[in-house]
Amino acid sequence: MSERTALTLACTDDVHLAEVLDRAQLVDGSRVRDVRSSSPLAPSLAERVPTRIPRVPIFAILGGGLGGLAADLIASLTAQADPMITGHMPIVAAPPVGIITYEGIALGAVLATTLGVLIECRLPSSRRNSEVASRVARGELVVTLDVPANAADELSRLAEPITR
C-alpha cells in the first residue's frame, strides 16, 4: 500500500466534474469520496459517487408501526381503563380504534422519516469548512477524492484544489 491522500477539488460545472472524475478513474487505486453541491447532482454524475442506499423507508415503516401500535393501545386501553357505555357501541369499538391507529401510523411515519433523514444525513452537524461552503454556494461542485499521494499533483492540475 502506498501513501494515500485526500484531495479536494472545486469544479466549475457538471462537465468539468465529469472530466475530473474520468481522469481520476484512470488513476489506479483512486476513489471518489464525496461531491458537494448546492443542488442534487445529475443522475449520471450521482451514480459515480459512492453512496449508501438510504434507510429512510425502513425508518418510515418502523415509525409507522410504532406509531400505529401506540395509537392503537391508547385508543383501546384507555377505553377499557374506565369503561363507559356510550350509545350502541362496545367499549372498544373497532372502527374508531382503526381510525386512531391509522392516524398514529401516519404520525409515526412522518416523525420517523424526518428522524431517518437527519440520521442518514448526519444532521445536525457542526462540521464546517467555510471555503468549501462558499464554493458550493457559488455553484461550484466540490469533489473529494481519495488518491495515492503520487497522483495528487496531476489531478490537482485539472481543477483548483482546496486546502483544508
Partner: protein, 461 residues
C-alpha cells in the same frame, strides 16, 4: 453551464430578496397583523363574557366557527396534498409551486386548528381532550369523531410542518452561505449544518419521497374525518356516505383557489413571473378545472339523492336551500363555485394569472358558503321540528372570521419575508434536468438557443 445556472439562481435569490427591506411585504404584514389582532380581540371578549356572544343558539349549536374551521382545514389541502401528488407523479412544473403551497397548508392548519378550541364553551378546559394521565382517572373518548379530528389534525400539522421543513434545509444552507453577520448565524441554525454531500442529497430526496407518499393518505384522511364530524350524526342531510370524498374534493378545490391567489400575488408583488410562469398557472388551472367538475358532480349527486328519496326531514333542509331562506347563499354558491369556473377555466385565456385569481376569489367565497350551508340549514331544521332555529352570525363571529383571514395572511407575509417562498434548490435541480434532457440538442443548437434566450450570458470564470 454551471455559471449560467448560477446566474439564474442568483437572480432567483435576488428576487426573493430576503436580505432587503421590502416595503410591500412589511406593510402587508403590518396591515394583516392588525386584522389578526381583531381575531384575538373578539376571542378575548368571548372568553370574558361567554360563548353566548356568538350568534349560535338552540338548535343551531354550530355556526360560523365550525364553518370557518372546515374552511381553513380545506384550504390546507392546497399545499401538502397538491405538492405531494405532484412530487410523486414527478411533475416538473411543480418545482416553483411546492414551497408556497406547503406554507399555505401549515398556516391554514395553524389558523384552522384554533377554531375547535375557539368554538368550545369552555376553551380553557381543552386539555380534557388530551390523552394524559390525570387525577380524574378519565381518558378522552376515542369513539367521538372530535377525537378523530384531534388525532388527524395533529398528525397532519406535524406532517405538514416536517414536509415543509425538510426541503427547506438546503435552501437555508444556501442562504447561510450567501449572507453575513447575524443572518448567517440564524440561517445557519436552521440549516442544521447541511453540507450538500451526495449522501445527504440522496437521503433527503429519499425522505421527501417517503414523506410525500405518507402525506397523501394522511391529507385525504384529515378532510374525510372533518366530514365525518357531520356524517356520523343523525342530522338531516349530514348523514351521507359521500361526505368523505365530497369534502376532500371540496378541500382540494378551495386549496387550489387559495394557492392560485397566493401565486398571483407573489408573481405580481415579487416579480416572480419567470418562475410562477404562465405554464404553471395553466397546468394548475387544468387541475383547478378538473376539481370544479368533480365538485359539481359531488354537489349534484348529494342533492339529487336527497331530492329523489324525498325523506321528510332531509327534504325540508333541501328546500330550505333551494327555495327557502337560504336560497340566496345557495345559488350564489352554485354560481361562483361552478357556473363561473366552468365558463372560464376550460379556456387557455381563462387559465392566465388574472382570470384564475378572480375565479379563485369566487371559489373561496363559494366554498365557505358551501360549508355554512351544510351546517346551518340542517341544524335549523331538526328531525323533531318543534324547536326550529333561526341563525344570524353575530358581530363577534364575523370579527373572528375576518380576523382569521388576517392571521393567515400575516403568517404568510411573515414567512415570505424570512424564508425563500420558492424552493431554490429544487428549481435549480429543474434547470439541470432541462439541460441534461436537452443536452445534446442544446449543444448542437447552442447559437440559436443563445440568440433566442434574452438572458445575459453566463459571467463564467
Amino acid at each position: 453551464m454551471t455559471n449560467d445556472l448560477q446566474e439564474r439562481e442568483n437572480r432567483l435569490v435576488g428576487r426573493l430578496s430576503l436580505d432587503r427591506f421590502r416595503p410591500g411585504l412589511v406593510v402587508g404584514a403590518g396591515l394583516t397583523g392588525l386584522v389578526a389582532l381583531v381575531f384575538f380581540y373578539a376571542w378575548g371578549i368571548q372568553l370574558r363574557d361567554g360563548i353566548g356572544v356568538a350568534g349560535i343558539n338552540r338548535p343551531v349549536f354550530w355556526g360560523v366557527y365550525i364553518t370557518t374551521f372546515v374552511f381553513w382545514i380545506g384550504i390546507s389541502h392546497a399545499g401538502t396534498l397538491i405538492s405531494a401528488i405532484l412530487r410523486v407523479t414527478g411533475a416538473e412544473w411543480r418545482r416553483p409551486v411546492t414551497r408556497c403551497a406547503e406554507a399555505i397548508t401549515l398556516f391554514a392548519l395553524s389558523v384552522g386548528g384554533l377554531f375547535p378550541i375557539l368554538h368550545m364553551g369552555r376553551a380553557w378546559k381543552v386539555y380534557f381532550m388530551l390523552p394524559i394521565p390525570n387525577s380524574r382517572g378519565l381518558w378522552p373518548n376515542f369513539r367521538s369523531p372530535l377525537m378523530w379530528d384531534a388525532a388527524a389534525i395533529t398528525a397532519y400539522i406535524v406532517g405538514s410542518f416536517l414536509y415543509l421543513s425538510l426541503p427547506l434545509i438546503p435552501d437555508m444552507a444556501i442562504l447561510r452561505d450567501r449572507s453575513k453577520g447575524w443572518r448567517r448565524r440564524v440561517f445557519g441554525l436552521f440549516a442544521l449544518g447541511w453540507q450538500g454531500s451526495a449522501q445527504q442529497w440522496r437521503s433527503l430526496e429519499s425522505g421527501i419521497k417517503v414523506m410525500a407518499v405518507v402525506i397523501i393518505p394522511l391529507a385525504v384522511s384529515v378532510h374525510t374525518i372533518v366530514s365525518w364530524d357531520f356524517a356520523m350524526t343523525q342530522v338531516p342531510m349530514w348523514t351521507s356516505t359521500i361526505f368523505g370524498p365530497y369534502f376532500v374534493v371540496g378541500a382540494i378545490y378551495s386549496g387550489i383557489a387559495m394557492l392560485m391567489i397566493a401565486m398571483a400575488l407573489l408573481r405580481w408583488g415579487m416579480d416572480l413571473g419567470d418562475y410562477l410562469s404562465d405554464k404553471v398557472f395553466n397546468n394548475l388551472g387544468l387541475l383547478f378545472c378538473a376539481m370544479t367538475l368533480a365538485w359539481g358532480y359531488f354537489t349534484f349527486a348529494e342533492h339529487l339523492t336527497v331530492w329523489y328519496a324525498n325523506e321528510v326531514a332531509e327534504a325540508r333542509v333541501l328546500w330550505s336551500r333551494f327555495t327557502g331562506k337560504w336560497a340566496g347563499p345557495f345559488w350564489t354558491m352554485v354560481i361562483v363555485n361552478f357556473v363561473i369556473p366552468i365558463c372560464v377555466l376550460p379556456f387557455r385565456w381563462g387559465r392566465k394569472p388574472l382570470p384564475t385569481a378572480l375565479v379563485s376569489l369566487g371559489v373561496l367565497v363559494g366554498m365557505w358558503l358551501e360549508r355554512f350551508l351544510i351546517i346551518v340549514p340542517s341544524l335549523e331544521l331538526p328531525r323533531l321540528a318543534y324547536t326550529l332555529g333561526d341563525y344570524t352570525p353575530s358581530s363577534i363571529e364575523l370579527m373572528v372570521l375576518i380576523g382569521s383571514v388576517g392571521l393567515f395572511a400575516f403568517f404568510y407575509f411573515a414567512f415570505t419575508m424570512n424564508v425563500p417562498i420558492i424552493s431554490v434548490w429544487e428549481v435549480r435541480e429543474g434547470w439541470e434536468h432541462e439541460n441534461s434532457h436537452s443536452g445534446a440538442a442544446a449543444a448542437a443548437a447552442a447559437p440559436q438557443t443563445d440568440a433566442r434566450t434574452p438572458e445575459p450570458a453566463g459571467g463564467g470564470s
